[in-house]
Amino acid sequence: MQRKITVLTDAELITCIVQKGNADKIVKAAYKAGAQGSTIHYAQGSGVREKLGIFGVAVEAEKEVIQLIVSSDQVDRIFDTMYLVGELDTPGKGFMYVTKLEKAATYIPQEILKKFGLDS
């Protein structure tokens, strides 16, 4: 029998770059708004520090990059929540963007597959 992969469509990737130490509360808020999981990696950033003058010292050069994949129905809700919780309207607080994903795949519970008549 041929092996089967269920591919998800309508998935979007939210990437949010914030100062080190801020990712935790943003991810928590995103979970509350419906996100299922997240990945955080560490990075070095530059740009806004130099433009802030003396306040630049308050901006960590070390960043946390949060990536989470959400369904396109949820994307705006989670995007807005993360923006507000992360206070991204303040300079130096971070940057975020959404990418449309062509396809995604992961574990999908059997009972959900059954609902769609896709169980093996």
């Binding site: 130099e50 306040f55 010292v57 308050a58 809700r77 206070e87 303040t90 300079p91 130096g92």
Partner: protein, 569 residues
Amino acid sequence: MDKNKLRYGEFVREIQADHVYISYSDITNSSEQKSSKIKLRIIDVYRLVTPYISVRLLEQIYSLMPLALYLVIFQIFILRQELSGASAISVGLLAVIMGLMFFMEGIKQGLMPFGELIGNTLPKKVHLNLVLLIAFILGIGVTFAEPAIGALKTAGALVDVKTAPYLYLLLNDYASTLVLLVGGGVGLAAVLGTLRFIYSWSLKPFIYMSIIPTLVLTAYLMTDENLSVILGLAYDSGAVTTGPVTVPLVLALGIGIASAAGKGNNSLSGFGIVTLASVFPIFAVMLLGLFLSFNYSPQDIIELSLIASDIQTIQIPWYDKSPFVEMLLGIRAILPLVLFLFFVLKVILKEKLANSGIIIYGIVLAIFGMMIFNVGLTYGLAALGEQSGSLVAVAFSDVVLSNGQELEALYPYFLGLFVAVAFAWILGFGATLAEPALNALGITVENLTQGTFKKRTLMVAVSLGVGTGIAVGVLKIIFNIPIAYLLIPFYIIALIFTYFSDEKFVNIAWDSAGVTTGPITVPLVLAMGLGFGNAMNVTDGFGILSMASIGPIIAVLVTGLYVKKSQEK
């Protein structure tokens, strides 16, 4: 999609989001955005500055408060003594917290970029000999900038000239020479450590060659009654040097040089300098003591000090009065280092500093922080440490306090002795376990040994070592055991274990001693020992720190051997 049907998700999207779209191209194309300064609203400043301050403030509070609370609670509940001068101590501790906060941030913003830039570019541009010379001078500079060095000078005020004349001379009239020599030791360590990186030499011969002469000199000084009291100071100063300024700056330079020589990939690169930087100063201080003993007799010193105190009672200039003297010390500590780094950068490297505004901010902050820290050191840490040190003695013996108050022993002798030693043990164990630098070392070690040496194992081993070391140090003061009787055997044991251990564990073990002695533990333990020593009428209360450095070395070496054994099975 069917015309009459609307997906609920699409509907929610429409009613919820209030998004205004503009093109990023429009922003980047317009010319007015070229002026790169951003104007901040008040709320922006608030949002940026609050987390900036609170994170750094909490860091210092976490490292100081448990220790201070432990001392106070122990004093009130176990020793049943009130805290005298509580308000002055509280203000002092607050000053320590604020001072360290400013200082550490200042170092991070102001000095570290210097260090990294020099470390990365210097070895590529000039000859190795000049690089090593700069590393040497830098070693001296960072020693002056080390916050805990001030504690040695503060401790000098507590020494009685009649019972320990050479110790008094070293800590008062020759205090600057002492720091200079200690710095020279650190500088030499920086040079040899760097050479070790480049040629990948084993650390073991360095340990043998530095420890054995040190022990021989110790044994020689031990025979002279007047000189033996400086041994405690000598070994303690080794522990003082390896603090939050020296370690990162010297390491940055060393690793930079090694990687420029193409030898920076060794996983053990970072190790070894700390070890040597804590051994060479011991030797240097002993030499200075020996030198003084040739030039001064104990009587000379006592007379000198009497003359000096006569002059002082007549008139003390304003800059010699507390708190101004602490503030001046702060400036004197940082400025030479900054000027030297600046000189290297401008004259030798002809490099320009990016972000000079932020660097100036960092330097100003570091000096300011050092000034506050020094004031706090005198009124907070040293006062609290001395007080609890002198009161611990009450647990098992009758004590006459410095203000003439007589106190009777609280507990029966052996129980009291147990209380005092347990107090010291818990203090050392707890303070070490909470040290953030140890946590960082633990992670490095776990990675280095592919998980065979667990972070937890290392932290517990080091803490056990420090706790036991401090407890032994307290016993030393109680029974007035000459410090050499303890140090020589312990170091010989450490040498024997070193011989049988792997290179990896040798590096870790000898470095772990330096990690544990931060800017809070050092002044507190020093002052405690001196207060305790005075209460017990012992000539010198130094030596507790040195026991706290040798303790973890042995503990980690033993653990390393155990780990190796259990792997072979």
